[in-house]
């Protein structure tokens, strides 16, 4: 240690980063050294844990019971519109529904949208999941208006009453980070089992994006437009409803689009508690029975709905052309005539089996595929598990066993590893990269110990150090304070496990996504291929990601890891490319005229300029990974996600909410830190 600090003696003062890293290294070293003497330094003793989850549970039970009558009344009221929607969607003949969607597509976006609607719904019809789809759609149809009204009202309220605004924003932030499953447990207690829970959960989940976009849209209306409305002599209500809201339509429509997608996603997730005959339940059921062909078909139906709803509502937020409304009437008229003429011959959509052979084919094809590629797939899975994921989780000292690695890890190997780390750190410090060297040393230490077994003082110090560097002592205090609540609540170990899996996924996404983003930025053909894939991945509801990984890799941590990566990599790709592509033309020209090569421009101009944007991408990736972590608990992860899922099964509100809060805390800290770094970079660039 002394050697490390002595070497750059000529630099007199250590940078903030080096100081923070140095303290972290010292704390980590002390913890490791004293592990034998004082095991409580590494593992938080169970005796020190507070029964926080019970307290939370008791409080929530009391609270929920208090508001239960009112909520039950509300849920009883909601059953009316739901039954109505179910009845209408369930009993309208399918040709008429298809033509309505097709006509709507035409009205919104002309021929391409009409074709999308027609083909999409025809696929749903042929899949034989028509009835289930209509049940899902009925839920969405009722929850979305509720969410739109709630979100719109909250957004307008926040706009009108400035004092409420920051409060609303904070609540929306928290709602975004609390995992979806965590909502469900208290709702379950309030409303009992049944479709209404899904409905209300999805309304709650879908309202924030609407509120956010309404706020943003109203805020962004040009001040001169607002002033013109005032000077025209409008009352506040006239200003708001005749000028500001219409002028903010584009942004509000973005909110409608996001609201629809969120509602659909949540309705499907809510099937986990349900037994209600909808399409999400169908996926879950077939997945549990390992009927992957059917599962994939049902998943595709969900994807079709997501794509149709997303693309059609997306046109609302763009400038639209007017399409001939006669075509709309012609389509509807034709459908009515068609239905009337062929009434007796219309097949019952639930009995359609056109695509059943396809499901069978997928099943057998999959079996053939896994058999043919079994060794290779197994090798991929096992190697990743044994040589990457497991060491990360429990550390090299426990993961290296004769059974997998061919030899037994010994304490002297640990010493050797630390010595190598120290040597690298020394070397880097010698070259003037003291902070980098210390970080390498920390990473090597973490690899030896494993994230799941990190000493708690080290984690707290590390979080404080990162927080301090990223956003000053306030962020450091906030991070430590929040982490301490997890520590004493007895969820610490599970939190570390969640941190490990999401951390591994985020790291993988950052590297791979960054590379793909880079490739897309420098070579546009890559982007033409990658872009539709990204669009697709962002449209698919979370739940569906589980199906393909499950098909190939079965239940387990590796499958969960892949599902998380598939979902969380998209923002990293998008933001990296966006940041790199949007270097101001003048800066590029200045670099070119200075004689810089392509590579030099990338390294010296484009990359630094893109850094804040890329950091924001990383931030999104982290939040996405946390969101997916909980969903992935369905197919085998340990940690907080699993706890939330278990709590749901046992209707244990205390555990569900505490674990949800712990996830939210982790996400929040990560979010603030990365934002802090991004902010610092932006300031440094004068943006």
């Amino acid at each position: 240690m002394t050697a490390v600090t002595d070497t750059p003696a000529q630099q007199v003062r250590l940078t903030a980063g080096a100081q923070a890293a140095l303290i972290t290294v010292i704390v980590g070293a002390v913890c490791l050294a004293l592990e034998g003497v004082a095991p409580w330094l590494v593992k938080w003793p169970a005796a020190w844990e507070l029964p926080a989850t019970q307290w939370v549970g008791a409080f929530l039970d009391w609270f929920l019971n208090g508001i239960k009558p009112a909520m039950r009344l509300f849920s009883d009221l909601m059953t009316y519109p739901m039954n109505a929607a179910n009845y209408v969607l369930g009993n309208t003949p399918w040709p008429i529904l298809i033509s309505i969607v097709t006509a709507l597509g035409w009205y919104l976006g002309g021929l391409p949208m009409a074709a999308l609607g027609f083909i999409g719904l025809s696929f749903v019809l042929a899949s034989g999941y028509w009835a289930e789809s209509m049940n899902t759609l009925a839920l969405v149809a009722v929850s979305v208006p509720v969410a739109l009204i709630m979100g719109g009202a909250i957004g307008i309220l926040a706009n009108e009453v400035p004092r409420v605004k920051s409060f609303v924003q904070a609540v929306l932030d928290i709602m975004q980070t609390v995992p979806t499953f965590a909502y469900l447990t208290p709702l379950l207690l309030l409303f009992g089992f049944g479709p209404v829970v899904g409905l209300i959960a999805s309304a709650i989940y879908a309202a924030p994006p609407m509120a956010r976009n309404v706020m943003l849209g109203l805020e962004r209306v040009e001040s001169e437009i607002k002033e013109a409305a005032i000077m025209s002599g409008g009352t506040r209500l006239q200003q708001l409803f005749q000028v500001e809201i219409p002028a903010a339509t584009t942004q509000i429509m973005v909110g409608v689009n996001q609201c629809l997608m969120a509602a659909l996603s949540m309705v499907i997730i809510a099937a986990v508690i349900g037994g209600f005959n909808d399409i999400g339940w169908e996926v879950l059921l077939t997945m549990r029975k390992a009927q992957f062909g059917e599962s994939l078909m049902a998943g595709l139906v969900i994807v079709v709905f997501a794509v149709v709803i997303d693309r059609m509502s997306g046109t609302l937020a763009t400038e639209r052309k007017r399409y001939d409304s006669r075509v709309v009437w012609a389509m509807l008229g034709f459908a009515v005539l068609f239905t009337a003429a062929f009434w007796a011959w219309l097949p019952n959509p639930s009995e359609l089996t056109v695509l059943d052979p396809m499901a069978g084919a997928i099943d057998s094809g999959l079996t053939a595929f896994t058999q043919a590629n079994g060794p290779w797939l197994d090798a991929l899975k096992n190697n990743s598990l044994f040589y990457v994921l497991l060491p990360l989780r429990i550390g090299l000292d426990q993961a290296v066993l004769p059974f997998t690695w061919g030899f037994q890890w010994t304490p002297s190997m640990s010493w050797g590893l630390f010595a190598v780390g120290a040597a690298i750190a020394l070397l880097m410090a010698w070259r003037g990269h003291l902070t980098g060297g210390l970080v390498v040393l920390i990473l090597i230490g973490m690899l030896e110990t494993g994230i799941g077994n990190l000493p708690w003082p080290f984690v707290l110090t590390g979080a404080a150090a990162l927080g301090w560097v990223a956003g000053g002592w306030r962020l450091a205090a906030l991070s430590v304070g929040l982490l301490c609540t997890i520590l004493v609540s007895g969820l610490w170990e599970r939190a570390l496990l969640s941190l490990y899996l999401s951390g591994a996924a985020v790291f993988f996404c950052a590297v791979l996504g960054g590379l793909i983003g880079l490739a897309s930025a420098v070579w546009s053909p890559v982007w033409t291929v990658v872009r539709p894939i990204c669009d697709m991945l962002q449209t698919i509801p979370l739940f569906v990601f589980l199906i393909p990984v499950l098909m190939v890799f079965q239940i387990g941590e590796f499958s969960a890891f892949l599902a998380i990566c598939a979902y969380a990599i998209v923002p990293m790709i998008r933001y990296t490319r966006h940041g790199l592509v949007n270097t101001p033309e003048e800066m590029m020209e200045a670099a070119i005229s200075s004689g810089a090569t392509e590579w030099q421009i990338m390294r010296d101009v484009r990359a630094p300029y893109a850094a804040p944007t890329i950091l924001l991408g990383l931030n999104q990736t982290i939040l996405y990974a946390f969101a997916m972590l909980v969903i992935a608990a369905l197919i085998g992860t340990t940690g907080l996600g699993q706890s939330i899922y278990l709590a749901l099964g046992q209707a244990d509100v205390g555990l569900g909410i505490s674990a949800g809060a712990a996830m939210a805390i982790l996400a929040l800290i990560a979010d603030r830190m990365v934002q802090g770094f991004a902010e610092e970079r932006r300031k440094a660039l004068g943006l």
């Binding site: 002033e227 000077m231 002599g233 409008g234 006239q238």
Partner: protein, 349 residues
Amino acid sequence: MTDANTPAIACQNLWQVFGPGAEKALTDALSRSGNDADKAATDLREHGFIPAVQDANFEVREGELFVIMGLSGSGKSTLIRCISQLLPGTGGEIRVDGENVIGASKKVLTDLRRKKLGMVFQHFGLFPHMTVAENVAYPLRVQGVSKKERLARAQEVISLVGLEGREDSFPRQLSGGQRQRVGIARSLAVNPDIWFLDEPFSALDPLIRRQLQDEFLRIQATLKKSIVFITHDIQEALKLADRIAIMRDGKIVQIGTPTDIVLRPVDDYVREFSKDVAKGQHAKVASVMRDDGERGPDDPGLTTSMTLDAALAHCMELYEPVPVRDADGNIVGTVHPSDLAAALQVDET
């Protein structure tokens, strides 16, 4: 009740201070400094407040075109927003037709705007979701005027600004110049007595700008509104104004006619503005005319309202004083050609 002597707008000790608790801070600062505006402003700045308008005092007469000129950040936009009560005003008085509007109720202000005020914005402030006709008719719509009636009135003002045929276009389909014509038409829809224009031509190309300035003068010649016109362009100010107020750092440093501003700047700041101005095009013969009777034999036919440039062109070859006549042809004074030349010298101080 407007009578001939009541100014259309009168501002007295008007302050607009930004910052939390600005009103109290202003009262405190004024009492500490013994009502000295400059000291109070410095005091406010030291306490973290922004005095964007400091102690403004001026009157706009009935039918007068009053231009407020200043660089960006000088507080001119804040000032016009105070007068139109888009900003509340922190201290002082604003009398519109003799009535103080500071602290007036919402209802009174709404009424005032519906009947007496019109405003044109720099970036037009058009409602993007309404057609030209709907935009122009909007001030009537909020008053509950029937659709037929308000569209008829909109048609009148649209013709006035020369936009016939574009009634059903949306703002995004128009050029910048056309958009501002819509803005002007909308501000005139209720036929207001007082017309606010906040840098109406600044966002336009020079050619379009000149064209609209000329048309604006034409409209004003028939409508005779009382106007507060904001600009950062000295040429525009000199061309349009009856009187000009020059603002700097929240303070009005000089109020005067265009000739005053050009020939008798109160300080270096104002002089700096008029430096690049071709004085000969703005100053009139009257400003260098003397009353004494000695004059030479020549009479090149100068009149009081001629610009210096024109006068100089008439007496290029002359060295002796020449007579000046008024509009009716009576001799009212004398001009020395050397004085004409001297007045045109650019100040090098």
